[in-house]
Each structure stands twice: as structure tokens, then as C-alpha cells.
Symmetry: C2
Subunit: 320 residues, 2 copies
DNA sequence: CTGAAAGCGCTTACAG
DNA sequence: CTGAAAGCGCTTACAG
């Protein structure tokens, strides 16, 4: 590959001038500009971005930290980020941690190494106190509500309460739910909502109705298998995500449990296939969360933006 | 941020020595190594990767070209690529083209700009003749069968023929199908298979049974809406992907068409939710295609690897 | 085992 | 409008 020096020599100008035409600076005599452009064309020249990145201290790249690159929940957020990034000429590199703190830390180091200008954290393995120091080296944005940095988030308390109230209004008194990691911030928030809403309605809280580590269709099946062993069963389930809900639906059919007559289900995320499953679900507008997070990164605004959720009522909840 | 010079000064050695300990070279006196390591620790130093990339002419980054970042088909392939890349310390940047030739070209230029070491092309907008010249600047891998470069692919002719034969064995004589872009290579291949298998079985080819531009659930609904207008209808449909199939299922229910009794359906991709839909589908092992493509990139092997598909029989095909 | 020096390919004051 | 020179932060022969 030819470099800026080759161009300069062949065009009979200095590399400064070449750089100027490359960057569309004014004050280059038209004649020289044309000559330079012509040589660039002839040599099929392209700038080496690594040199530019080094000199500018910026890369126009953005890292996205998430646990699983192949989970629909994160794919939806990432979809929003990537689309927004593409229209702003920012390259996105996907950083799957599998919730390993070590891996996550390595990705955060990309900031110090000047590999990326910023990082959007979709979900994290480390505590904020270990993540925050990295904000010094670039822009950090979260997809959960947090004191410390900019974020685009769902109000999980509100969303979960709404779903709960929806079920209670339908006459359900015995409600279970599932979460992913039991000790995650959002799981704790959900438990608060669960506790508060049930207490307010004088409904008993049954811890055996809470299922953890539920991420995908197989976990959904497991929920139903565990459910049928219970002496007392919930009449409704608030499920982590639509993938899990699909598993619940599937296994319920296997076990001869009729949905929604014997078991009502509300999912989360409103994935495209949920419509085909006729699943009642809470749409958190994940794509919009991604787009908003990107915007926060791009403009370096210090803001906390709550993205509204939406209840999508279909056919998996019955009136008792 | 401190740089290698600072470290050298504080440790009382040359930058060469610092570079040596940074890169785990032998031949550094233990005492100096320790001192350097200590200063690095103190200053919380990290190498600037842009300088390294510049000097080495490599970035350990990989671009992935695809039309839509939010389509399950591509997400599955990308999932495989990212996972394989992560365990090999390669960063992946996602490049959504929306099938714009211009955009695709810009992404290919990343190779010339030394931004990435290679590119995996999941699906392309440009002709091979415009893409191939870029192979000079880095490693190019395709996810479709192609003469010119390494590839990990599905034998679409075989897969499509198998599905067709499966339906014919069940007694279907009137079979339709859908594709995404009508003039894509794989669509042409599918038409060949369709033509050949039907002809071999003395079955008529009905062009009005071919639906194009089918990508998602909405397109699936459209298929059914178009279907019911036909004087003569197919008894079975081979659908582009499971998302489209979900739409067909949904709209069939709306129109009161019973699946599979009145309409048999075979999807493609075996997405996680397909199980919940009880959809008969062809699993192309997309994740494996992604992993294989990555392997081809990493090892720079010049190979064409056919990834086997698999028919997953569930409940959307009836025996006539 | 160690370091001075050249080089990777750019950008950007600065001086004219 | 133009160019020489310094600098971005590294690696790597080369010489010792």
C-alpha cells in the first residue's frame, strides 16, 4: 500500500498539502488539489486509519458489553445501537463477557488502550465501583438505571408493578415470576415491586413461586416441571423474557396444563415471534433503549433517560 | 495517560527494555523487569493499541458484513462468529449494509485502511468482481458457496431438494415457496432445485406459487393474504425462514386455514422459538457456519466447507 | 542482556 | 496558499 509520502512525491507537493486535500481543508490551490486527487486515484490510495487514530487519540469506535451475544434480549438492544451507530459512522465492536468479571475488565481496558472511544454496558458482571474508574478514559453509558453515569433504562419497578396489577385486576391472587440472575439489580427491583404490590393487595408472598436463572426456552420448560411438583401452584406467571415464556407454553402443553385457563403467562420483550405465540408481554422497546444509549454516547450528555414500556395484551392471560 | 517513555524514565531503562517486558520477551534482567512492572503498576499504564496497530500493520479485528443486524438469520451466524472470535482475542465489528452497494464498499475499504485484518461476508450487495479485489488487502471469507474465496456454506440445492422431496413423499403435488431477494444466488439455486425436483416428479411448476421479498413475520402474513386470492392454492409452502413461517402460521389462523391439514409449512433456520411453534424446519446450523467462517479467517486457509443441514420434523406438515 | 535510532503513516501548529 | 518539522506511541533490526 502506498502512503501519504508517495502521494506527495508523485503529486509534487508536501505531505501537508496531501493531508489537507484528504481532509477537505480549504486553502489548497485548485490545481494542486486536482493533481493530488488524481494521484490518489491512480495509486488507489486509502489512509491508514491506525495512524489517524494514533494522532487524534480517537477511533470512532464503540464497544458494547453484554453477557451473551446470542440472546434475543441483548440482540434487540444491540440492533438499536448498531443501526444508530452506522448512520453516524461509528464502528461497533461486540464484547460478550458471559458474565465473567475478568473478561468484562479486559473489555473495559479497551478504553485505556484507546481502542474505543466509549463503551455501552448492556449488562455487567462487575460492581460499579470497579467499572466507574474507566469513565476517566472514555464515555461510559449504561442500559440500567444508575447513579453514576449516563443511562437509558427501563423502569423495572414500574413495569413489573403494572404487570402484577394487570394480573390482580384479572382476579389472580397467586402469582409467580422468574428472573435471570437472582442477585442482579433488576431482579432485586422486581422483588421489591412484587413484595410491595402483593402486600398492598393483601396477597401472600410465596418464595417458591420465584424461579431464578431463567434465560431461554429450556429454562421455561424447567419452570413448568418445577411448578407441577408444588402442592400449591400459582395461577399466573410473569416470565423473564419471551424465550422463557415460549418454553413455559411448550412444556405446559406437554403437561396438559391449559394456557391461559389454568395458567396465565406474561412475557417480556415482545420479540417478533411472540405475536405468533399470541403471548401477552411487556414491550420494553429494547431497540429504542439501544438507540438512546448510543445517542448518550455520541453526544456525551450526562443524562438518565427512562424509556417507556408498553403492555401488549394478547391471549395468554385469563380472567379468573 | 502515561506512555512508554514515562515508564522508561521512571524505571531508569530504555523504552526498548520497556517494550521487551511489555511483550514478554526474554533477555531482560529480572531486576529491571520487576522495576518496569512496578512502574507500570504505579502509573496504571496500558499500551496504546493504535500505535501497535500502526507499527504491526495488523489490528486483530474482523469485520462482518451483513444486510440487517437485527435479523435472526444473521444474528445466528454472527453469534457463532463472535463467540469463536472472543476465544481467540479477535474483536468483531458488525457492518450492516442494508444491501446498499455503496455502504458495503465502504466497509470493504476498512481492509485497505488497515482497520480490520479480514472480513466475513454473510450476504453481499455487490457482485464478486467488485468485492474480490479487496482480497489483496486482507482475508476475505464468504458464507455462501463461491469459486473465488474461502467459504463456509449451506448446500442450498441439497437442502431445498430434501425439503421438496419430503413434501412430495407426504403426497403433496402443489408446492409453493418463498425467498428473500428474488435474484440472489441462493434464490436462483432454490429455483433450480424447485424446477429439477418437480420436473423429476412430473409435477407442474406454478410461478404464482413463488413469493419473493419475504424476510419477516409481516411478509409471512402477506404470503397468506396473497395465497387466498389464488384460484388454485398450494397445499404446502417452503418458507424463507422461521420468522416468515411464524407470520404464515399467524395469518393462516386469521383466515381460518388449518395448518397442517389445509396448508403444510416448512421453515428454515430452526430458531429457538420454532420449537414452541411446533414448526417443521430445516436447521442449517447457522452458528456453526459462523464458527467455521471465523476459523477460515483465523487460519487463512483457502477452503470451501459445506456445513451440513438437518431436517427438524415437528407438526406443520401433514400427509395428504 | 541493553539502548540509540529509524520507522510505522498520519496531523498540526508554526512560519512564511 | 504552502511546507518543514515535531509529535502521536509504539516495535524492531542493529550494534554492542
Amino acid at each position: 500500500m502506498s502512503n501519504i509520502k508517495d502521494i506527495a512525491k508523485l503529486a509534487g507537493v508536501s505531505i501537508t498539502t496531501v493531508s489537507r486535500v484528504l481532509n477537505n481543508h480549504p486553502y489548497v490551490k485548485d490545481e494542486k488539489r486536482k493533481k493530488v486527487l488524481q494521484v490518489i486515484e491512480e495509486l488507489n490510495y486509502q489512509q491508514n486509519v491506525n495512524a489517524i487514530h494514533l494522532v487524534k487519540g480517537k477511533t470512532f469506535m464503540l464497544g458494547v458489553i453484554l453477557p451473551y451475544a446470542d440472546h434475543p434480549f441483548f440482540q434487540s438492544i444491540v440492533g438499536g445501537i448498531i443501526q444508530a451507530a452506522a448512520s453516524n459512522k461509528i464502528a461497533v465492536v461486540i464484547c460478550p463477557t458471559n458474565y465473567s468479571q475478568i473478561e468484562e475488565l479486559k473489555y473495559l481496558e479497551m478504553l485505556k488502550k484507546k481502542q474505543v472511544d466509549g463503551i455501552i454496558i448492556c449488562s455487567r458482571a462487575n460492581k460499579w465501583e470497579v467499572i466507574l474508574p474507566f469513565a476517566e478514559y472514555g464515555s461510559l453509558v449504561a442500559c440500567e438505571l444508575t447513579e453514576e453515569i449516563s443511562c437509558a433504562y427501563t423502569d423495572h419497578y414500574d413495569a413489573f408493578s403494572s404487570a402484577l396489577n394487570f394480573l390482580i385486576e384479572k382476579g389472580h391472587k397467586s402469582i409467580g415470576y422468574s428472573v435471570a440472575r437472582i442477585d442482579s439489580t433488576s431482579s432485586k427491583t422486581r422483588f421489591s415491586a412484587y413484595h410491595d404490590v402483593l402486600t398492598k393487595n393483601n396477597l401472600p408472598i410465596n418464595e417458591s413461586f420465584i424461579f431464578s436463572d431463567c434465560l431461554d426456552i429450556e429454562d421455561g420448560k424447567r419452570i413448568v416441571k418445577e411448578l407441577i411438583r408444588l402442592k400449591e401452584r400459582p395461577t399466573a406467571l410473569l416470565v423473564t423474557g419471551d424465550g422463557v415464556a415460549a418454553g413455559v407454553l411448550l412444556q405446559a402443553k406437554v403437561e396438559g396444563i391449559h394456557v391461559p385457563d389454568e395458567l396465565s403467562i406474561i412475557g417480556f420483550d415482545n420479540q417478533p415471534f411472540s405475536e405468533a405465540l399470541e403471548l401477552t408481554t411487556i414491550d420494553q422497546h429494547l431497540k429504542e433503549i439501544g438507540e438512546t444509549a448510543f445517542d448518550l454516547f455520541l453526544h456525551g450528555k450526562q443524562q438518565k433517560i427512562c424509556v417507556p414500556f408498553e403492555m401488549v395484551v394478547r391471549k395468554t392471560v385469563s380472567k379468573l
